[in-house]
């Protein structure tokens, strides 16, 4: 039994012995440690020296060697990148050199001179028996201690400032990068900015300021205590373009030229923009929004603050809030117009059409604004104006629901208007009577058509105008047996011809026609052409003035032989305006032809201005509007002297047209507006009726129009309405 126990313990002992650490053996300095130093195995030597000192705390050379190794390691690492290691070894240097200094004696130097090779001079090396004086060693050690103290002190300052600079700039970068990820454009940032964003911007500025502060301190510290390899300077660049400038993963603070983005300047400017521009703007918008809604709710009139909405365009073009304000404004105007319509009865067809046009105008505008609002009602846009919208809509869903309800209402209104508008126009057009003259029917409505369709003896009314007293003034021509045309001007009252003036050329090869008529205060002005019978090419053109009694007072020749198509009288200024096109009577455009527009003083025919454009198409009417004229027609191609051109969407063939409208100002003749009604389907207008400046009705057809034949192949009717700003607001669905 004992033997068994003994064997167990022996086994265990052997096991333990095999696991016993080697350091149980006594370390000899000269045998185990110094050779390591001599062969350069400093890591092992360092470890062994520490162990040795635990046993031999007064081993003077051990301290010295530890100090040397610490010194070596302190110099090995990068002072900026591994500054904490350098500092640690600097501390060690100070400690070990100090301990060495405390313990050093002459005796030690005598006894262990071989361990102090650093202090050997040439003689010591040559003799092999070194002799070192304590007076040689102490000053060096003291210097080293001082050096490492200085190093520690200065390096800690340098590191602290450098570290802080990097830290703050890194924080700036992250904040700015975060903003660029969150906001697609600078304008978006401004308009969406809330208190959190302002706080972020303020922090961004502070971090940047701190970066500069610490960088400057770092530079000062470096000036006092230079570090080899480090002499960074920094330059600052402004942020001009959001998301292009200032977006970087990091900035290398180790390179000689550090390039910083001036986040503080940008952030502060942004905060200022928000505080001084956006906030007041939103406050004004809130007030405008409230007023518009109140006006709509109470059916009162409200005038949009256009400058305010224009200011908003700067940050958010065609915004949700501006569309909402537009919607409620037009809704209130619509409501008012409806109220007036209910009150006013006993109106004639024209007055009815005018009144109805108001409803169409405001209804159309409201619908347009509402559609735009619905399209813009999304999370981002709601957030932009949340504080404003919250006064009425607690959430985006609430807004959408409300707008859907408005949409249902406006669609209902619009459907009603759409149903009624055709009836209105038809009633208006049908109100023009047919009268008789020499027992031949003479329509008061224009019945113009291509010359080759006009039969012998037929009266063709080129233009017809009704005055305020209900009298009709007509002009046109009549065809004789030999194709010769005789021009006429007439006044019809209560279905009877009051007077008629007829003009016939004496020679059969010449024809006369009156092409256009406009009323003046005391009569009318008509345009007259003398043309060659057959080709009907214009030989002479003139303006003739007739009195109310039918007497021709004046005949003023025109200085061109283009066919005068429309003459209009502006009683505000006493001007007449004339549009002329083509070299033959009612010449269809077979080529890209010049359209001429002139304005002159009615009293003396003195020219005010002359304008022209080129058109492959036809002009349907020249409509006077407030302080100007609108030319309306069909185009395949149209081009202007200022370089603007337009081609119809279906311009694969000349007779596939769309509709154009161009507005000229009177007195100066500037083009103030241009607009086109684009459609992939060919369409053409053949009649224009102005109800008011808000409603100019364009009637026509969808289908192809043959230029030469002036013939439509219509498929369905077309009815457009524009206002004097040439906005095609009806039909309400855009093509």
């Amino acid at each position: 039994m004992k033997q068994i126990i003994y064997k167990y313990w022996l086994l265990l002992l052997l096991c333990c012995a095999s696991l016993a650490p080697a350091y149980g053996q006594k370390i000899k300095y000269s045998r185990d440690i110094y050779p390591l130093i001599q062969e350069g195995n400093y890591l092992q030597a360092y470890r062994m020296l520490h162990i040795y000192l635990q046993k031999e705390p007064d081993a003077i050379n051990a301290y010295y060697q530890l100090a040397r190794i610490s010194e070596q390691r302190a110099n090995r690492f990068d002072p900026l990148l591994q500054g904490h290691i350098v500092m640690r070894y600097a501390d060690s240097c100070i400690y070990y050199f100090s301990e060495f200094d405390k313990r050093l004696t002459e005796k030690e130097l005598r006894k262990n001179a071989e361990y102090y090779e650093d202090f050997f001079d040439e003689e010591d090396k040559a003799s092999g028996k070194p002799k070192i004086e304590i007076s040689e060693v102490k000053p060096v050690i003291e210097q080293k201690i001082a050096h490492y103290r200085r190093l520690k002190e200065n390096l800690s300052t340098i590191l602290r400032h450098f570290g802080k600079a990097v830290e703050h700039y890194d924080a700036s970068l992250r904040l700015y990068n975060g903003l660029t990820e969150q906001y697609y454009t600078y304008k978006e940032l401004l308009i969406l900015a809330d208190e959190n964003v302002i706080e972020t911007l303020n922090r961004l500025a502070l971090h940047y300021d701190s970066t500069v502060y610490y960088l400057d301190r770092y530079r000062q510290a470096l000036d006092q205590y230079p570090l080899e390899g480090y002499n960074q300077r920094y330059t600052v660049r402004p942020i001009v373009d959001f998301r292009i400038d200032g977006v970087e993963p990091f900035v290398d603070f180790l390179r000689p030229d550090i390039q910083l983005w001036n986040y503080a300047q940008w952030a502060r400017q942004t905060v200022e923009n928000i505080q001084k521009e956006i906030k007041p703007l939103k406050q004004s918008l809130a007030a405008a929004f409230k007023e518009a809604i109140q006006a709509a709710d109470n059916k009162q009139s409200y005038e949009i603050d256009r400058p305010l909405l224009l200011k908003l365009n700067r940050y958010d073009y065609n915004s949700l809030i501006s569309n909402l304000i537009e919607y409620y404004t037009h809704k209130s105007a619509y409501a008012q117009a409806e109220q007036i319509a209910k009150l006013e009865t006993n109106l004639d067809a024209r007055e009815e059409a005018q009144q109805f046009s108001e409803l169409l105008f405001y209804g159309g505008k409201a619908r347009e604004a509402l559609s735009a609002s619905l399209a813009a009602a999304n999370e981002k846009n709601f957030k932009k104006y949340e504080t404003i919208l919250n006064s009425r809509y607690t959430s985006l869903n609430t807004l959408r629901q409300a707008l859907s309800q408005e949409d249902a209402w406006i669609n209902q209104e619009v459907r009603r208007l759409e149903t009624e508008v055709k009836d209105q126009i038809n009633r208006l057009l049908e109100s023009m009577p047919v009268t008789s003259y020499e027992n031949v029917p003479l329509p008061t409505a224009p019945n113009w058509r291509p010359l080759d369709e006009v039969k012998e003896g037929e009266w063709v009314v080129a233009e017809s105008v009704k005055d305020g007293a209900g009298n009709y003034y007509l002009c046109g021509f009549r065809r004789a047996a030999n194709d010769q045309l005789t021009g006429f001007v007439a006044k019809i009252s209560e279905g009877k011809v009051v007077w008629m003036h007829q003009e016939k050329e004496s020679e059969a090869q010449n024809s006369t026609a009156y092409t256009s008529l406009t009323l003046t205060e005391d009569g009318c002005l008509v345009t007259a052409v003398a043309c060659a019978t057959g080709p009907y090419s214009i030989q002479k053109a003139a303006i003739e003035r007739f009195s109310n009694a039918g007497k021709r007072i004046e005949k003023v020749p025109l200085p061109f032989t283009d066919c005068p198509r429309f003459i209009r009288y502006n009683d505000v200024f006493g001007y007449w305006t004339l549009l002329a096109k083509g070299q033959a009577l009612f010449d269809p455009a077979t080529a890209n032809e010049k359209v001429l527009l002139i304005e002159a003083k009615a009293s003396n025919g003195q020219l005010n201005w002359q304008q022209e454009f080129r058109l492959l198409g036809n002009v349907v009417n020249l409509v006077p509007v407030e302080r100007g004229y609108v030319v309306i027609g069909n185009f395949s191609e149209i081009s202007f002297p200022d370089g603007e051109k337009a081609v119809s969407r279906v311009n694969n063939l000349a007779h596939h047209t769309n509709v154009f409208a161009v507005k000229y100002s009177s007195k100066l003749g500037n083009i103030t507006r241009r607009n086109y009604y684009p459609s992939k389907q060919p369409l053409a207008v053949y009649q224009v009726y102005k109800a008011s400046d808000k409603a100019i009705h364009l009637l026509g057809s969808m289908g192809t129009w043959k230029f030469q034949a002036f013939r439509f192949n219509p498929s369905e009717s077309l009815h457009l309405i524009i206002d004097s700003e040439l906005d095609f607001y009806y039909p309400f669905q855009k093509p």
Partner: protein
């Protein structure tokens, strides 16, 4: 006695056996009757390449994939295996942590001596032909068993250990080696290798494998304290670059030769070779490498969606020191990055001529291994949306944009805006000057600098154009005294949505305004709510920069009994008393006047010229005055404040001797009769 000894020995044996029980050989088809050697696993642990002589005794490299928890049938890497001759030795594979490079050694004839280190690049699912790593590392002697660090900067490998006479050292029948390391310089080239110091190299080491944390080294060694022949040891390098005392990985060591440890980035499973087979064993916590994460994905061209070759740079976010610069695989764009705990990293993906992409990972408090999949798109061009905007009203403009390169001034694009906007596709890598021109506007130009790091491939720039303007003077004064009146003047542009408001803040002198109006446009002028004065009524309240004298003088009559204001914009249909709709604006002004001055009483006087009979003209003028009266009444003005009166032709203001004069005589007036 025997029973007790056995019991004791059993206890001693039990401990390592208990641990040994977790070592598992990989099942077929990985391990076979042949020798399987030197496994290497990718960072995600799903690809293993190893060396085997299963093909008629020829040493070759095989690859297998972990799918659904099983290793697939190993396939030979033919591009490597068939590179040399039948008798060439190929072995010691080590796949880089990004999975794109395979290092191995071979005795190909085109080497520098015996066995050299080669590498092969991944092309899709295949590997390229081997390339020799070069004479800085390879010598006429033996180089073998390479292993690359996760940051791609250090290559560990072995050379034979020799004595002073150059004889190869052995321990028993095992050849001894020394572990060397070579580092890449700043120029990306390998520098001269150096042997790892004690306590790594003690005389008989081999099979170094650096773990994905770049600081944990597992190697095989025959040294005091070991269990078998070659045992597995682990040492870690501290931040000062010193290696810790190697620790015996006793959980894996056997009495046999334990070699070729390989650990995936997750760090939990050790693959190693013992007894000519590949084994796995879970790694106890104390032997695990530093925790890390793996980020993988594809780097693609954002437009073509094809994989592209790019660089992945990893920086220490605190110091901005570049820690790694890795290349992804250009054949498919695949990249892998392994990051160790303890730092905050910025990862930047860049390729010349493309946008740059960067993101951050904060691993200072990483608690476990994670894998992240992140696909990255880089773009060759930036879509620069340019909005041409009117500076004053912020309306979109039709403008032309001319783009030239700043360097060389070569024009590269000319585009027209549509609805004020256009998109320019500009190549990354250059700086561009954009000149924006629009009719009646002053040109503007700016620089878009895409020559530096560009993060976003879609940016927006507003080109704000100032219209060409001319100065115009507007004077508002009292008709009688000539004194300037500080009333608000509003100019409404007839061509566009522009409203200019001039008020007391716009001028130092009351009633005297200088305003800049567009050269090309006309403006309608309005004087708003002039308190105590009649409103401004003008037949032609339009001003333009083309006017002969750019000055408009507006004289307002003070409201007092007898003040007479001609309503210049009241129109009637020809020969009738029906108001034309063009009169609406003027009538609204009258309404406004009456509302603002609730005690004002007025006469609405209508006059005609001398055309027609006197009686007719009298009737007509009375009817016209009445029309105006009716309109105002409709809009809420009380009847008792208005007196409609027709004067016929009895009060001409000028002789009726011309059309112009007659037009002047045909007028409506507003006369104040009480206030």
């Amino acid at each position: 006695m025997n029973k007790n000894i056995y019991l004791f020995l059993l206890c001693l044996l039990c401990l390592p056996t208990w641990l040994r029980a977790q070592k598992q050989p990989l099942p077929p088809p990985i391990n076979t009757a042949a020798i399987e050697y030197a496994p290497t696993v990718s960072a995600d642990g799903r690809t293993m390449i190893f060396e085997t002589n299963r093909n008629n005794g020829k040493w070759e490299l095989y690859v297998s994939y972990l799918r659904d928890g099983r290793w697939t049938n190993p396939e030979p890497i033919d591009s490597v295996n068939m590179y040399g001759g039948d008798t060439d030795l190929i072995g010691g594979p080590s796949i880089s942590y990004d999975g794109n490079t395979l290092y191995f050694f071979a005795s190909f004839k085109d080497g520098y001596g015996r066995e050299d280190i080669y590498y092969s690049r991944r092309i899709g699912d295949r590997w390229s032909k081997p390339k020799n790593i070069g004479p800085v590392i390879n010598t006429p002697a033996y180089e073998g068993f390479p292993c690359i660090s996760a940051d791609g900067k250090t290559l560990y490998f072995i050379r034979e250990s020799t004595d002073e006479d150059g004889d190869i050292l052995t321990r028993g029948d095992a050849i001894c080696y020394r572990i060397f390391a070579a580092e890449k310089g700043k120029d990306g080239q390998w520098q001269k290798p150096y042997p790892l110091p004690m306590p790594i190299n003690l005389g008989c080491e081999k099979a170094p494998r650096i773990m994905s944390d770049n600081v944990t080294l597992i190697f095989s060694s025959i040294r005091e304290g070991g269990i078998g022949e070659f045992d597995l040891y682990l040492s870690r390098r501290n931040e000062e670059g010193d290696w810790s005392n190697p620790v015996l990985m006793d959980f894996a060591s056997t009495p046999e030769r334990d070699q070729f440890a390989s650990v995936s980035a997750s760090g939990d499973l050790l693959y190693f070779v013992t007894n000519n087979d590949i084994y796995t064993v879970p790694i106890p916590p104390k032997f695990r490498q530093n925790r890390n994460i793996t980020i993988q994905g594809y780097i693609r061209d954002g437009e073509s969606r094809q994989g592209i070759g790019a660089y992945v740079n990893v920086y220490d976010a605190e110091t901005t020191e570049q820690l790694m610069r890795l290349e992804n695989n250009p054949s498919d764009g695949r990249y892998t990055v392994v990051l160790s705990e303890g730092k905050r990293y910025i990862i930047e993906v860049e390729k010349q001529g493309y946008t740059v992409y960067f993101f951050e990972f904060d691993l200072r408090k990483l608690d476990k291994y994670q894998e992240f999949e992140r696909d990255i798109e880089l773009f060759r061009t930036a879509d620069v949306h340019v909005n041409a905007i009117d500076r004053l009203i912020y309306e979109p403009l039709n403008a032309q944009i001319l783009v030239t390169k700043q360097e060389g001034e070569q024009q590269i694009a000319r585009q027209q805006t549509e609805n004020g906007r256009t998109t320019l596709k500009l190549p990354i890598g250059a700086s561009y000057r954009l000149k924006v021109q629009a009719d009646n506007y002053i040109d503007t130009s700016f620089v878009i600098d895409l020559s530096r790091k560009v993060r976003y491939n879609v940016v927006e720039k507003d080109a704000i154009l100032r219209p060409e303007t001319k100065e115009y003077e507007i004077v508002v004064k009292d008709l009688e005294t000539g004194e300037g009146l500080p009333f608000t003047v509003v100019l409404v542009n007839r061509s566009r949505d522009e409203v200019i408001t001039l008020d007391e803040n716009s001028s130092n002198t009351p009633g005297y305004y200088k305003v800049h109006i567009r050269e090309s446009d006309e403006y309608e002028l309005e004087v708003r709510n002039p308190a105590g004065y009649a409103f401004y009524s003008d037949k032609n309240p339009v001003i333009s920069a083309k006017d002969a004298t750019r000055k408009k003088v507006i004289e307002l009559a003070p409201l007092k009994i007898g003040t007479k204001l001609t309503l210049n914009n009241i129109y009637f249909e020809t020969g009738s008393a029906e108001l034309s709709d063009a009169s609406e604006r003027e009538l609204k002004k009258v309404i406004e006047l009456m509302r603002r001055n609730p005690t004002l009483k007025i006469e609405l006087a209508a006059h005609t010229d001398d055309k027609g009979s006197e009686a007719f003209n009298q009737r007509l003028s009375q009817a016209r005055a009445q029309s105006v009266f009716n309109y105002l009444k409709k809009f809420g003005i009380p009847e008792d404040r208005m007196v409609p009166k027709g004067y016929g032709e009895s009060q001409p203001i000028v002789p009726n001797d011309s059309d112009e004069n007659r037009a002047k005589n045909r007028r409506c007036e507003l006369i104040v009769i009480a206030i």
